[in-house]
Symmetry: C2
Subunit: 314 residues, 2 copies
C-alpha cells in the first residue's frame, strides 16, 4: 500500500452490543442498551450489530434484541445489523426491522458442531435457506455470512486456508451477499491476514467485505492494518474491547473501536466517527456493567496533541 492509498473511507461496524454483551457476566438493561446504541450512532458509527436472535435460554443477554432493533431501526444513517443462527432468527430479525443480518458459519468442523450441533456443510445449507427466503420474502434485507474460526480454532488448532476458501465459495454460491472473515478466537497474525484475504478475494472477489478480529494476543490492530494493506475497508470492533474469549479467561474481546478509529483517522482514512463522543460512550459500559474490564489505549492515555478531531456527520 503506497502513501496515496492511505486515504478514503473505512467502515467501522460496532459489534459491542452483540459480541461484547453476549460475553459479559451481567445483563445490560434494555433501556440502557438502547441509549448506548444511540450514543454510538451519534458519535458517527453508521453500522452497529445490535444483538442476536438466538434462544434466550442460550444467551439471556440477547433476549431483548427484537425490542432493541425496533427502537433504533429508524436512527438516521444507521445500518442496524443482527446476528442470526438460522431461518427462524432471520425472520424475527426482519420483522423487527433489521437492515442486515449476519449468519455465522464456522469453518472449523469441530467448532461448528460444538457450538451449533451442525457441521459446516449444514450451516452453509441453512445460509442457503435464509438467502432463498430473503430473496422471496424479505426485499432489501442484506444477508451476510460470517466465516467463523477462519484464522484458527480453539479445538482443532490450525484451520487450512484451502478450507476457508472452499467454505467462502460455498457461502457465496448459497446466496450470501457478502462475507466477513472472523478471527473468532484471536489466533490470527498479519501475514496470515494478508494470505487469507488474497486467497479468498481471488476466489470470491469483493464479496469478501470485512474482517472481524479479536485482540486475544494483542495483535488485533496489527491484523487490522494487514487487512487495510490487503484492501479491506470494513472492520468489526467493540467499544472498550468489550467481550472476551470463552477459551481464554481474562483475554480482551474484539479490537477496541476507539483505538481502531484512532489508527484509521491518524493514518489518513476517514471513518466519520467523532472520537471524543465515542470515548464518552464508554460511560454507558462503566455504569451498566461495572464488573466488566474495559480495554483501550486511547482512553487510558488520552488523545495526543497530534490528533485532529474530524467533523462528525451528525
Amino acid at each position: 500500500m503506497s502513501a496515496e492509498d492511505h486515504a478514503g473511507a473505512v467502515l467501522v461496524r460496532e459489534v459491542g452490543p452483540r459480541d461484547g454483551l453476549q460475553m459479559a457476566h451481567g445483563i445490560m438493561p434494555t433501556d440502557l442498551k438502547i441509549r448506548w446504541i444511540r450514543a454510538l450512532a451519534e458519535a458517527g458509527l453508521r453500522s452497529i450489530e445490535v444483538g442476536s436472535f438466538v434462544p434466550p435460554k442460550l444467551i439471556p443477554q440477547m433476549a431483548d434484541t427484537g425490542e432493541v432493533v425496533a427502537a433504533v431501526r429508524d436512527l438516521p444513517g444507521l445500518a442496524v445489523t443482527a446476528l442470526v443462527p438460522n431461518l427462524k432468527g432471520a425472520q424475527r430479525a426482519y420483522r423487527a426491522g433489521a437492515a442486515r443480518i449476519v449468519v455465522p458459519v464456522s469453518v472449523s468442523e469441530s467448532h461448528s458442531r460444538a457450538n451449533t450441533n451442525k457441521g459446516t456443510d449444514e450451516a452453509v445449507a441453512e445460509l442457503g435457506r435464509i438467502a432463498a427466503w430473503a430473496r422471496a420474502e424479505a426485499p432489501g434485507l442484506h444477508v451476510e455470512a460470517g466465516c467463523a474460526t477462519a484464522f484458527g480454532c480453539s479445538i482443532e488448532g490450525a484451520v487450512s486456508e484451502a478450507r476457508v476458501v472452499r467454505v467462502a465459495e460455498s457461502l457465496v454460491a448459497a446466496g450470501a451477499a457478502s462475507l466477513v472473515l472472523a478471527d473468532t478466537v484471536g489466533y490470527g497474525n498479519p501475514a496470515q491476514v494478508r494470505r487469507l484475504v488474497a486467497a479468498v478475494r481471488s476466489a470470491v472477489g469483493d464479496r469478501l467485505e470485512a474482517l472481524h478480529l479479536h485482540d486475544t494476543m494483542g495483535l488485533g490492530l496489527a491484523n487490522a492494518y494487514a487487512g487495510l494493506e490487503s484492501g479491506i475497508r470494513q472492520f468489526d470492533a467493540s467499544l472498550a474491547g468489550l467481550g472476551g474469549c470463552p477459551y481464554a479467561p481474562g483475554a480482551s474481546g474484539n479490537i477496541v473501536t476507539e483505538d481502531l478509529v484512532f489508527m484509521l483517522e491518524s493514518a489518513g482514512f476517514s471513518t466519520g466517527v467523532d472520537l471524543n463522543r465515542l470515548l464518552a460512550a464508554r460511560g454507558f459500559l462503566a455504569g451498566g456493567l461495572p464488573d466488566e474490564p474495559l480495554h483501550g489505549g486511547v482512553s487510558r492515555a488520552g488523545l495526543p496533541k497530534t490528533y485532529a478531531t474530524p467533523h462528525c456527520p451528525y
Copy 2:
C-alpha cells in the same frame, strides 16, 4: 510485502531493564536485575539494553548500570547495550564492558531542551564527540543514535518528517554507525511508519536499522508490522510492556516483547526466542516490582494451539 517476504531473522532488543525500569516506581535490586537479564538471555534474546549511564540523582533506578553491565557482558551471544546521554556516559559504558551504546537525540527541539537542556543540534554535536572518541579509543564499540520523538512530541505535537530526515542525516554525518527511530511518546501510526522509514532510508540507507515503539495508544504492534512491511528487521520491546509514558499516566510502555515475538514467529519470521521461557521471565517483574502493571495479550490468554515453539538456541 509478499508472502515470501514473511521469513528471515528479526532481531528483538529487550529494553525493559532500561526503558521499563527507569519509569518504574520502585527500584529493582541489582542482583534481581542481573538474574532477570540472565533469564532474558537464556530465553534467546541476543540484544538487551541493560541500563543507562545517567546521573543517579536524575534516575536512581539506573545507578547500578556499571555493575549490571559487568555482570552480564560475558553472557554467550549477547550484545550488551547501554543508553548514554554524553561522552562521559559513553566512557563509563565502555569501561564497564558494553558492546553497544545508544545516544538519544530528540528530533523535537522543545523535547530536547526540556529533557537535556540542550537543543537538537547540540545533542548531534555530542554524538559527534562520542563517535570521534570511540573511533580513537574504543575499538569495537558500536555507537547508535536514537532519534527520539521522531513520530510526534508531547510538547510540540507533530514533528515534521523533513526534520526527522535532516536530523538522521546529520547523525550519520556526525559518525553514528546506526540509527533507531523512536516513537518516544507513542503518537505514531502505521502510515506514518511507512512514510518515515521510506524517507529516512532514502536519505541514509540501511544505517536506519531499528524502530523503538511505544504502545501508548494500542497501536504498537500495528506500527511494528508497518515497519516490517517497510523492511525493518530490528525492534526494541519491553517484557510485559514495562514502563509507561511520563506524559500519559497509566499508559503502557514499550511494545510488549512477548506479543512482538508471538507476532513475528507466527508470521513466519525467526527471532531465536523461546516464548515459554520469555513468559516465565515475567516472574522477576511480578516479584521485584509488585506494584507495576504488567501488560501483554499472550501472557493473559496463553499460547494458542496453533503456536509451535521454535527451538531455543541456548
